[in-house]
């Protein structure tokens, strides 16, 4: 049952072949069985999950019209506030905090009757590309438990690839959905900025953050995308427009006559041979399906990483100021007579991890008087140039493509002492965030040299998210027929007590 896709689970629930309680229980069993190895979850919410499942079963029995994903279990990145359920954003500074409110994404999941199994591990405050920066220890890649699942949404990606949940919610500020999807052999989508409400998404970098779906198939991902998206008056940056019809796009699997632009700057040096080989094979497949492959030039992408590491830390230095021990979360150093200032200092010293502190310091510096123009100001100009590069490129192609990550999953500890090497893991995903457009990663096969999954990235203009699913579903269908099954079927079983 747990190996089915979410769409198949939905069908089984509708036909009465199974119940949500049974489905939920089998996922809780799987979590119980493998999560001591994978460490995808920070908090498993079995009791509430089963209660929600029973409620959906009862509604179904009573003949109520339900959402297709009603009763299907899901893993939720710990960055989203869920009322009454511990929410930490992977940080010690929020240990034990239970939000008194639901994020808009969680409200929408609940409204659809989706069963939330628990909260998944992540790099602290979504800062990282390996989930090693979690305050609660790393998550392990189900393909090779000595490797990272990528990050920051590594917990959600690992949960889906380890069959602990069929679908999951992540968030993507610089590639935090697409890169872990690539490294764990699943599908992940970062929707257009403003398409999914950020209300209740614990902010890392407000102008770049966006929650999005994970699935093992393009269709499952689309079904979850549709639930999450939509205008929200509680988020001033939310786009007030109809959600693109991603589900029917995911069923179209048609690229005939579509122009696919390969970005010159996102390949070549720095990209692993096996990654480029799988990427080029996918291009050939798309061409054989009737797509026209063109090369596009995006010269400003060279500066994207640098701009990102000024803008994101600047915004985070301000966003994370609220963690001051005054109203919630960790409080240390509150001895008799301690001043508010010394309690704030002691708490932030104890509660934040090294990477978070590094980015707060970077951002504080970049925004300082006398440096603002040189750093934050210049980064915003690069951002504008990247937007223009995309604009031009999208006049030449319907979608743009690249490898999602230049490398496959790396070893735990391999890059954790070298921030720049870690930052380079996001070199191909960051431009999408800076431009506020949408992107997908889907599995393109295994690299010959290490047998690890390779991700194929598709990018589309703002609010044209359906294009990701049209091209993605076509490529997926061609690859699945070539392989004789989904790539995820090749993931190690992990099962059995070891």
């Amino acid at each position: 049952m747990i190996k089915k896709t979410a769409a198949q689970m939905s069908a089984s629930l509708t036909s009465g072949e199974t119940t949500s309680v049974a489905l939920t229980q089998s996922h809780l069993d799987r979590i119980n069985e493998v999560d001591s190895k994978v460490k995808a979850f920070l908090h498993v919410d079995g009791e509430n999950a089963l209660a929600q499942a029973a409620k959906v079963d009862a509604e179904r029995a009573a003949g109520k019209k339900l959402h297709p994903l009603a009763g299907v279990p899901l893993a939720l990145k710990d960055v989203l506030a869920q009322e009454g359920v511990p929410t930490t954003a992977g940080s010690k500074i929020l240990q034990g905090w239970k939000p008194p409110y639901d994020s808009t994404v969680v409200s929408k999941l609940k409204q659809a009757g989706i069963v939330i199994l628990g909260k998944t591990n992540m790099d602290e405050f979504a800062m990282g590309s390996s989930t090693e920066n979690s305050g609660y220890g790393p998550t392990f890649n189900p393909w090779d438990l000595t490797r990272t699942p990528g990050g920051s949404s590594g917990g959600s990606a690992a949960a889906v690839s380890a069959f602990e949940a069929p679908i999951a919610v992540g968030s993507d500020t610089g590639g935090s959905i697409r890169q872990p999807a690539a490294l764990t052999g699943i599908v992940g989508v970062r929707p257009t900025y403003g398409a999914v409400s950020r209300y209740g998404l614990i902010a890392y970098s407000s102008s770049l953050d966006q929650a999005g779906p994970f699935g093992r198939t393009v269709l499952d991902t689309a079904m979850l995308h549709e639930v999450m998206a939509g205008h929200d008056p509680k988020d001033a940056t939310s786009i007030n427009a109809a959600v693109p019809n991603v589900v029917s796009a995911a069923r179209s699997a048609d690229v005939k006559g579509k122009k696919i632009g390969v970005i010159k700057q996102l390949q070549g040096s720095g990209y692993q041979a096996g990654v480029l080989a799988r990427f080029n094979e996918s291009l050939d497949l798309l061409a054989s399906l009737g797509a026209e492959i063109v090369e596009v030039d995006c010269p400003s992408f060279e500066f994207a990483l640098a701009a990102y590491y000024l803008i994101a830390p600047s915004e985070c230095s301000s966003n994370l100021a609220r963690f001051d021990a005054m109203r919630y979360g960790l409080r240390t150093g509150d001895d008799n007579g301690a001043s508010a200032e010394s309690v704030m200092n002691a708490t932030r010293e104890a509660g934040f991890g090294r990477e978070v502190k590094r980015r707060i310091i970077l951002g504080t510096y970049a925004l300082s008087s006398g440096y603002y123009d040189a750093y934050y100001g210049s980064a915003q100009k690069i951002r504008t140039l990247i937007i223009e590069d995309y604009k031009k490129a999208f006049t030449q192609a319907d979608v743009l493509v690249s490898p999602t990550s230049p490398i496959t999953a790396f070893k735990i500890g391999e890059k954790s002492e070298d921030p720049i090497a870690m930052y380079l893991a996001d070199v191909a995903t960051i431009p999408v965030n800076l431009a506020g457009i949408c992107g997908m990663s889907l599995p393109a096969g295994l690299a010959d040299e290490d047998g690890l999954p390779v991700g194929f990235q598709i990018m589309a203009p703002a609010m044209q998210d359906q294009r990701l699913y049209e091209v993605g579903s076509a490529l997926e269908a061609a690859l699945v027929s070539k392989w004789g099954g989904h790539l995820i079927d090749q993931v190690p079983a992990l099962g059995g007590a070891k």
């Binding site: 409110y101 209300y199 407000s206 100021a321 609220r322 005054m326 109203r327 200032e341 925004l367 603002y372």
Partner: protein, 499 residues
């Protein structure tokens, strides 16, 4: 060395800069839907947004933007077609996000002016105060420091935080530097704040109650030698809570600066706090090292881009400017300067105008509100506006007097009755049985009785000493229990005594 104010102004020229914070009277906060009602139980008017819970996001209150644009228009400002919010970053426990959402280099209104008029030795004189900017921001919460002797954070055992005020919309109105006021600097500053208050009240965008903090003034003052064009170092006196204090704070700071300068010392650039009891300021935060607030555009909000035609609609609907209105009313009502000033001081202009609009004679209306009703309010130690008498009541009383149905003296009893809650004027008249004695026969009887009793006085009047009639009229009025019309009594009495 202690200096007098005259010493100061004979040598130095003051330069002013005024920052006024106005709490808007919107029903909900600037970035969330929490109530803004003053005086609620601590922390009952809060939500995830104004407590800055993780994940919460601000959404701009559209009414606050409208109010700010109205203020900008009333202050003759340009309205920016595109402006942005910015984050002002600093840590303080009563500021939940540890940044304040404000506006930095893109304020919504800029480049305006306000003209104020003050009385000088050479007669009324007008000063133009130029407005640098009007921008929107949010208020902080309040810290209550417990256990110390002074209520200040220094020496306190612990502090309590109330976030009810956190996120209340504030508008900050900043002047350009104001030179050229000379010895009138304190009066000009006071007149400016008063004019702003009247403008804001006319716009109905704020309660403008200085004592509750809904209008707060920070006064910047510096001195330079007369004739110099180099600005001196300024001090910034915070939260001056009444018009009188604005005047006192500036005067006090001018003297303090001059004493320092005369002694060859430097004025420190710092924040100072005004103390009502002494009229002096005490040192606060030093501002010698400019704080770095690391402003940057607020990424959680979209730019404010008001439609040009909407701005014109708001402009067309602006109320009359208070200074023009005062001028118009003064002319329409033919009020002497002194009386006009008294009305403004007593804050009865609106209420008198309402009374006149209900048909009352302007002089009569003014006399009632400034006279008897003010007296009763003083006696009860309450504001005129809080008395239960309305402009309609006063208009009715004025009409009754004009119709001869009440004498002034009787009318005072009616006013007293209305204020005591006995009902509308007609009801008080009925209940108390108040009526003018109009029956000449009854009056003549009383006159004859009084003239017989005071024959000597009556003879004086008969012999041409008319002023002596006053005593007789008084006696007749007493005889008729004050219900007679004194003018009619006088007429009949003088006729009776051969005049």
């Amino acid at each position: 060395m202690a200096l007098t104010y005259d010493d100061v102004i004979s040598k130095y020229e003051p330069v002013l800069g005024l920052e006024v914070h106005v709490e808007l009277n919107t029903e909900s906060k600037m970035f969330c839907s929490c109530s803004t009602t003053f005086g609620a139980e601590p922390n009952t008017q809060t939500c995830p947004v104004c407590l800055a819970l993780p994940g919460a996001l601000p959404v701009v209150n559209a009414t606050a933007i409208e109010s700010t644009i109205k203020i900008g228009l009333a202050l003759n400002c340009q309205i920016a077609p595109y402006s942005r919010f910015a984050r002002k970053n600093y840590f303080y426990p009563d500021m939940p996000k540890n940044f304040q959402i404000s506006q930095y280099d893109e304020p919504i209104c800029f480049d305006g002016y306000v003209d104020v008029e003050i009385e000088t030795e050479e007669g009324p004189k007008q000063f133009r105060i130029e407005i640098e900017r009007v921008h929107m921001e949010e208020d902080t919460g309040k810290s209550l420091h417990v256990g110390g002797a002074t209520g200040r954070i220094h020496g306190a055992e612990y502090s309590l935080l109330d976030y009810n005020r956190a996120g209340i919309p504030l508008v900050e109105i900043v002047t350009k530097i104001v030179p050229g006021t000379g010895k009138y600097a304190p009066e000009v500053a006071k007149a400016y704040v008063a004019e702003l208050r009247d403008i804001l009240r006319g716009l109905k965008v704020s309660d403008v109650k200085m004592e509750q903090g809904s209008l707060r003034c920070d006064a910047n003052v510096s001195l330079r030698l007369i004739g110099s064009d180099v600005l001196g170092t300024r001090s910034e006196t915070k939260n001056v809570n009444s018009l009188r204090s604005v005047e006192r704070a500036i005067r006090g700071e001018m003297i303090r600066h001059a004493e320092l300068l005369n002694d060859g010392k430097k004025v420190k650039q710092e924040t100072r706090h005004f103390q009502e009891d002494t009229g002096l300021t005490r040192s606060g935060r030093s501002k010698e090292q400019a704080e770095d607030y690391r402003y940057f555009p607020e990424p959680d909000l979209v730019p404010v881009a008001p439609d040009a035609s909407w701005i014109e609609t708001l402009r067309a609907a602006l109320p009359e400017r208070p200074s023009l209105r005062r001028k118009r009313l003064k002319e329409e009502w033919s009020v002497p300067d002194k009386e006009m000033a008294a009305m403004i001081n007593a804050d009865v202009l609106d209420i008198v105008e309402s009374t006149v609009l209900l048909g009352a004679d302007p002089t009569k209306a003014r006399t009632w509100w400034l006279g008897e009703i003010s007296r009763i309010a003083n006696e009860k130690e309450t504001a005129i506006a809080d008395l239960s008498i309305t402009p309609a009541d006063v208009a009715e009383i004025v009409a009754l007097v004009a119709a001869g149905e009440l004498t002034d003296k009787l009318a005072r009893q009616v006013v007293e009755g209305v204020i005591a809650g006995e009902g509308k004027p007609s009801e008080v008249v009925a209940k108390r049985g108040i009526k003018v004695v109009n029956d000449d026969g009854a009056l003549m009887a009383a006159i004859e009785k009084v003239c017989a009793e005071q024959a000597e006085t009556a003879d004086k009047v008969r012999n041409g000493h008319v002023p002596a009639a006053g005593a007789l009229i008084g006696a007749v009025m007493k005889e008729t229990k004050g219900q007679a019309d004194a003018a009619r009594v006088r007429e009949l009495l003088l006729g009776h005594l051969g005049h």
